[in-house]
Amino acid sequence: MSAKIFRARHAMGSIVRGTALVAHDGFSARYDLDRINGVFSRPTHKLAGQSYVGKILVLDTAKGGVATAWMLHEMKSRGIVPLALVFNSVNPILAQGAALGDVSMLAGFDEDITAVIPDGAEVEVNPAMGTVTVVG
């Protein structure tokens, strides 16, 4: 099977490879996460109860307030952080948080990225190329 490659208009960070955790839902570190235990905690979130630690989060858009700008950095210091963020769109807060926390991030695709990357797929995020590749 040939690898599927999707190209983003916005990118930062370094190359990472890992397992995709996928949902067509939003993301805010404050609103959606139990950052102590590393799981989605907002009862209405489509990933409620699932661990985000070390996963490549593939979601629709950034939600909520400004706290994520600090929280990704804090989560990374404890190793309770997603490996990368791959979103249809992001707000400035997520970009600022990824920049401070040094978390790889892609955003802005021609397709709905949550519909074309299967949950649980092995993917590679390459910010220099602006691509996410489904490798297995």
């Binding site: 930062m12 939600k63 909520g64 700008a69 600090w70 929280m71 804090e74 990374k76 400035p92 920049a99």
Partner: protein
């Protein structure tokens, strides 16, 4: 990715000629600016910085201390830079069940900010209490409620600037020119038609929540038609804060009311399709949160209360005796006036507490829930009910009057 165009001063800052703190700040701003395709920087006149210690954690406070301890006289903000609510009101930390570790972290963060020249205003209603920005004034504001009010009601220009970026803007005096600093990005992308005008603060908040959910992401700009009369600042405060919370929205236009939207053609193509929002939609949002009739705590916060809101609350508290805790949170600027006017004494005479300089959800909400057994929470803030679900609460939205009644009886009446 296209590199941002830098002027001579910015080139010098990046080269470290203005010190390592300014260099680090501009490097951060370039990284964010180039991510969004910013062409260059725009000067800003004020910065507003969200940095509660629950968000910062030990790692964030150490990062701040690292900047502050460089000791370079140039490592200070160069424009007025003020703070959003802190993670505690030291005078009420015991009431909240906060630990000494939380308070120590808070003190360290405050010390670092003060060394960097940041003014500890500790407010999310700076547009009511410190200095509202003016039309077309470029600013770097943090709290989403502050940004949406400043953009929409004042006509100022800001993106959501998280704590690191707002601090960077304070230090460099500029911010990347993208998003709502760019006139074209301020045009409406969706049109909302309403056939009623809320009267209560929770009603305004719920309407903002419904519109925020519809709009759906940061780059959406709703233009709203059908609002009658002249809404008050507190009503628009709750409306905007909720819309920003539910939808990550940073700018809306009220046709015929807000400064950029005298006519529809000022902000949108006149054939932009409209979506209708009804009172039933607003009631549905509010009712969806009414999952219990018992309450453990009543909270007025998010945004901090104005002097007028505290006056209204004091009127409702006269002659009452609360059976569950009632917390009212305001800014350090409003609190002394509330004390002088007797509002604080009237609220506390009924058994409530008036806190200042913090916001409920920014004050270790999960830990204070566990410390106090607070799960079922009644509030008139739509923003607060949207946030607290992830912290393990069962938040319920109701009018200020119904919330005060709930503080007396322990039960929240259904509408």
């Amino acid at each position: 990715m296209i590199a941002m165009k830098l002027d001579d001063e910015e080139t010098d800052i990046l080269a470290g000629k203005m010190g390592s703190v300014a260099q680090l700040a501009l490097q951060h701003q370039v990284k964010v600016g180039e991510f969004f395709g910013a062409a260059d920087f725009v000067p800003v006149t004020q910065a507003h910085l969200m940095a509660d210690t629950e968000s910062l954690g030990e790692a964030g406070v150490r990062w701040l201390e690292g900047l502050a301890d460089i000791g370079d006289r140039r490592a200070r903000v160069r424009i007025p830079t003020i703070t959003d609510p802190r993670g505690t009101d030291f005078a009420h930390a015991d009431l909240l069940g906060q630990t000494s570790g939380m308070l120590d972290l808070e003190r360290r963060a405050i010390s670092a900010f003060e060394k960097l020249g940041v003014a500890m205003t500790n407010t999310c209603i700076n547009y009511q209490t410190i200095q509202a920005p003016t039309r077309n004034e470029h600013v770097a504001f943090g709290d989403t409620g502050v940004v949406i009010y400043s953009n929409s009601i004042c006509g100022a220009r800001s993106n959501f600037e998280g704590g690191p970026s707002a601090l960077a803007a304070g230090i460099t005096g500029r911010t990347p020119r993208y998003g709502f600093h760019v006139p074209e990005m301020r045009r409406a992308t969706l049109r909302i038609q309403v056939n009623f005008t809320p009267t209560s603060l929770n009603g305004w908040g719920a309407l903002g929540g419904v519109i925020g959910r519809i709009a759906g992401n940061y780059w959406a700009v709703p233009v709203i038609e059908g609002i009658e009369g002249a809404p008050r600042s507190d009503q628009l405060k709750h409306f905007g804060a909720s819309m920003a919370s539910f939808g990550s929205i940073a700018l809306f236009h009220l046709l015929g009311l807000t400064p950029e939207a005298a006519d529809l053609s000022d902000v949108a193509a006149t054939d932009l399709p409209g979506l209708r929002v009804t009172k039933a939609d607003v009631d549905e949002l509010q009712n969806s949160y009414h999952t219990d009739d018992q309450v453990d705590v009543v909270v007025f916060s998010a945004p901090q209360l104005s002097l007028y809101e505290l006056c209204d609350l004091a009127d409702l508290c006269d002659g009452r005796h609360f059976s569950v805790p009632l917390l009212a949170v305001t800014s350090p600027q409003v609190k002394p006036d509330a004390d002088r006017m007797g509002y604080t004494a009237r609220i506390e005479g009924a058994g409530g507490s008036v806190l200042a300089g913090m916001c409920f959800y920014q004050s270790y909400a999960r830990e204070i829930s566990e410390a106090n057994g607070w799960k079922r929470l009644a509030t008139n803030s739509a923003k607060l009910v949207n946030i607290l679900g992830g912290y393990g609460y069962r938040p319920m939205l109701a009018s200020m009057e119904a919330c005060v009644d709930a503080a007396v009886s322990g039960k929240l009446a259904r509408i």
